[in-house]
Symmetry: C2
Subunit: 211 residues, 2 copies
DNA sequence: TTTTGCATGTGACAATTATCACGTTTTACA
DNA sequence: TGTAAAACGTGATAATTGTCACATGCAAAA
């Protein structure tokens, strides 16, 4: 258990000691495997999520099950959407899954409320989380509102390059197509052109970025 | 001046008295005319915005000056994006304009910070604002990620119907095209089909909704 | 009333993206 | 080693959206 406290301190250095203690006693530590779905469309959200280790991916899902990738949540961050707990009834909803084996903290909604009043560092963190996700989402809007698919692929790959800290992105054309709500053939063709322009190298099951 | 206090009380009924007094002494009341631009791309944001009367529209702008409509801000609401004050340097930015003669309150950034700590009702309001805008933005993402232009037009018109509380939307095809980042001809053609299907009636300078 | 500007209609065509139907290559594993 | 599944390539074609050119109609201002 003392390991958990240290882990929280390390990943959330702004949190005050009393808050960390309260997290330690009230939050539920959960392990998420790679590819495991944490939150599914239509699910009733009962707690908020903090990421300790690993990596989560957040999607918007439509009624046909198409998954549109919006942004990553990295260690030390929280899912703003689980904070917006009272999800209204909508046809298109949310999907959060692990893209690496991850450790997360589930914060009961009741704690959220009381901590907001009690711990300055907590509400600052919540505000920061909203800000950060809002900006992520605006960048995503930019892409789909103003960009063609080839530019969106490039943006998508760069985002992965940044989060994975690697020029070798382990992903298939089909997966990219799913996450950009396009089709494999379109992605393959556009990436072939990008490869011809010397921007990337295409391998089986992964893409090598040359930028 | 007492009128201002009453107006704030009316539009922001959750605010505690001390907070309203502080707003009264610290905030700047500003009048925005219809079509007047409040915040322009690249502008350094020095204060946050509360809407007292009228109506604001928030756009995302790209480097070519295309304006993509995201959502409305109504009386009693705040602009979450002016709260995210430290706008990072981005190629695509923000535009907020009045779509009716409006009264707004400019809240200095310093007040934002101190009120967060001081007034429970203020930070609840800020959190609520983030939530509400986040949801608005997600609905917008749904549209551009998953929908064709005809469905997006319908969603766009419905949003206006709801905010304007009227089935007669005073808008030109060119304006719709601008706000959906499309072209007038496309909008005209698709709306003609919608008219044939009995969904709308097209008039000069306005559209009548039959749903 | 005439003129002028704006809003809208429309045909032709281009660009982008989606879909279908295959074929080829690589990998896993029976 | 052989076979099946998965990943990727590619041509043909369709659907959607964007662009250009120009016509028509309405409405305000001179």
């Amino acid at each position: 258990m003392k390991h958990l406290v240290e882990s929280i301190q390390e990943k959330f250095p702004t949190f005050e000691d009393a808050l960390i203690n309260s997290i330690n006693t009230n939050a539920l530590l959960k392990n998420i495997k790679n590819e495991e779905v944490l939150i599914h469309t239509g699910q009733n959200i009962r707690s908020s999520v903090l990421v300790l280790t690993g990596l989560l991916k957040v999607y918007r899902e439509d009624e046909d099950g198409n998954e549109f990738f919006m942004y990553y949540i990295q260690p030390g961050e929280a899912c703003a959407l689980t904070m917006i707990c009272v999800m209204k009834q909508e046809t298109s909803k949310l999907l959060v899954k692990g893209v690496a084996d991850s450790e997360i903290l589930l914060i009961p909604l009741m704690c959220m409320e009381t901590w907001m009043a009690e711990y300055k560092t907590w509400y600052k963190f919540v505000i920061e989380t909203y800000k950060a996700r809002f900006e992520d989402l605006l960048l995503t809007v930019d892409q789909i509102a103003f960009r063609n698919m080839d530019e969106r692929i490039e943006f998508y790959l760069k985002k992965h390059q940044h989060v994975l800290q690697s020029n070798l992105i382990p992903i298939t054309h089909q997966e990219i197509a799913n996450e950009l709500n396009s089709s494999r053939e379109v992605i393959s063709r556009l990436m072939k052109k990008m490869a011809e322009r010397g921007k990337i190298k295409i391998h089986r099951n992964n893409v090598e970025l040359l930028f």
